[in-house]
Symmetry: C2
Subunit: 189 residues, 2 copies
């Protein structure tokens, strides 16, 4: 592999740093242990607000360049205030962002210049589940569909292969199609 001699930006990705990072983690696998966090506070009704700021990675506590604040709510037709997207829409957004970032990194590593990556992610849900009206209906989406449009300087087969490789390496995709252990703890008073 002579890939670490690659340099410069491709698709906005610094491929030299990308390959150097892979080499560094290969040498020190514990650097790849990360913890991400979201801190949420209820506002009113179904409206709450999350701050995303600090995380742990590469052996130490870190923070984003700037903290960001994200509101979430239910729409009015579901007795919410519609101050922000719903939780399940943020989940679709997370999936789109994860698959897209992976796809662009993989294209850069493979020397493919992209001109467009866009996607529409849809999720179908029967609210008889979360409303407790039908015990045979699950709470979450019955299914999610991701429709990608990818354009760049490679044959259609190679462009489609980027999506497939990204899917196979996506953190969010993995957490949807495979179970994740979730622990819920409560302090009261």
């Amino acid at each position: 592999m002579s890939t670490t001699t690659d340099s410069g930006l491709r698709n906005g990705v610094d491929t030299a740093t990308l390959f150097a990072t892979l080499d560094a983690v290969r040498q020190a696998p514990e650097a790849a242990r990360f913890q991400f966090r979201a801190r949420n506070r209820w506002v009113s009704g179904t409206h709450s607000r999350t701050t995303i700021d600090d995380f742990f990675g590469v052996g130490e506590e870190r923070a984003h360049e700037a903290p960001t604040v994200h509101d979430v709510d239910h729409p009015k037709v579901l007795v919410g205030g519609d101050n922000a997207p719903t939780p399940v829409e943020y989940l679709l957004h997370a999936l789109a962002g994860c698959l897209t970032a992976g796809l662009v990194n993989i294209a850069a590593a493979r020397g493919i210049e992209l001109t467009e990556v866009s996607s529409t992610v849809t999720g179908d849900i029967d609210l008889n589940g979360i409303l407790g009206l039908d015990p045979t209906v699950r709470n979450g989406f019955e299914g999610i569909t991701v429709g990608f449009r990818v354009a760049g300087d490679a044959p259609a087969e190679e462009l489609a292969g980027l999506v497939e490789r990204s899917r196979a390496r996506s953190a969010v995709y993995d957490m949807l199609v495979n179970p994740v252990p979730v622990t819920v703890e409560v302090t009261t008073g």
Copy 2:
């Protein structure tokens, strides 16, 4: 059940409308079929941008009061631009927002006045998975922990019970602990 005679706001929830909505869906279960959507476009590198606007529900196409735009990126230590939170942080945010909205609705239905609901959601991930360096490591979070703090005019046991009931009825929690079918389609050129 005399609950539909309840009226007024509790915790910012219009409980009369909440119970009326439940009754309406009980009468016409197909009203509960919703489709949510996220439309994403790549910006540069690992940075992309999602617009959330239209959805389908209660038998017709609808839209939020206003469309919203949400950026997503990777941090610099992961060769991103750190223009926004990571996809996996948005997933933690979605979980917090879903559990909190459910909890507040359930408290309102049970006649409990809340004074605080806050949570910290953390996810631990070993990036040797998504970096393709260790085939025994999964791509997603190895585990997620939700720490809730709940205060209100009910005994600790009842407040903790709100969290438990919300967990049992949460769309996002369901999609993390149970598999969701995800279909990925590609158009190129």
